[in-house]
Subunit: 136 residues, 2 copies
Amino acid sequence: MKELKKILEEKKIFPSFHRLKILEYLIKNRTHPTVEEIHRHLSREITTLSKTTVYNTLKLFMDKGIVTELTVEGTESRYDINTKPHAHFKCLKCGKVYDLDMDLSIFNLKEIEGHRIMECHVYFRGICRECLEEGK
Amino acid sequence: MKELKKILEEKKIFPSFHRLKILEYLIKNRTHPTVEEIHRHLSREITTLSKTTVYNTLKLFMDKGIVTELTVEGTESRYDINTKPHAHFKCLKCGKVYDLDMDLSIFNLKEIEGHRIMECHVYFRGICRECLEEGK
DNA sequence: TTCTCTGCAAACGCTTTGCACGGAT
DNA sequence: ATCCGTGCAAAGCGTTTGCAGAGAA
């Protein structure tokens, strides 16, 4: 809990209980959760937690660069703690999103065709190994 | 109009007037339009055109592999005529989406970590050259 | 008739906004 | 008193669904 506090304070975010809990969840569960998932899980412990607060907190974290919003799918937003850039894979059958341990250093570009690059995303879609296994 | 008809018939899609018009728009305006944009533009000519039809048609085109849904942003869907795979760049300031002429052949993979790959998307975000120019 | 293309209107689901309460300084 | 984190409820907005009318085969 001490390290979590530090992370927020370094970004000049007041480390409220809710914010610490949400940050903790994101760090411990690197499963690209939706707002819904974060809220559902933390509600067990913090019964008064509202979705609005989850939304507010994630927006704050995004502004401060602590998390990134994934755009692997259109409908709902998923969030990722900022670590080193990595690719994502989404299963079209079960909907799970996997991290891929790929070398993306070729995309460490500052500029392309005159545009200033600030983020790079790579993702794949298909059928995941678990669903392939089941389908046999 | 003859070639357009051919495209649809090859995919076993009945080439109705509306469908041909939407296809034509997508081919002539490779600007990753939203449903809103397609509808707004074509309504001038086809005053009775409904958004539902645009949605229906795009869904049909997607199922048949004529267009792909971009996921560069979370809120609204943008559509791209299927040509060769290419990267996208979205300007965080003006919101425009550019095509990037990058070699993505390294991502011509059939499988990664046991998952079967069917699609690959690469996109960047930042400030586009036009906005950089203005900011000077 | 039968099939399917079309379109209005309502429903839906995720997200944002407005506003008020409550705790901390 | 002021600031700000929190949360309820309502609004917003893109998308989907239900259903009925129109048109082609």
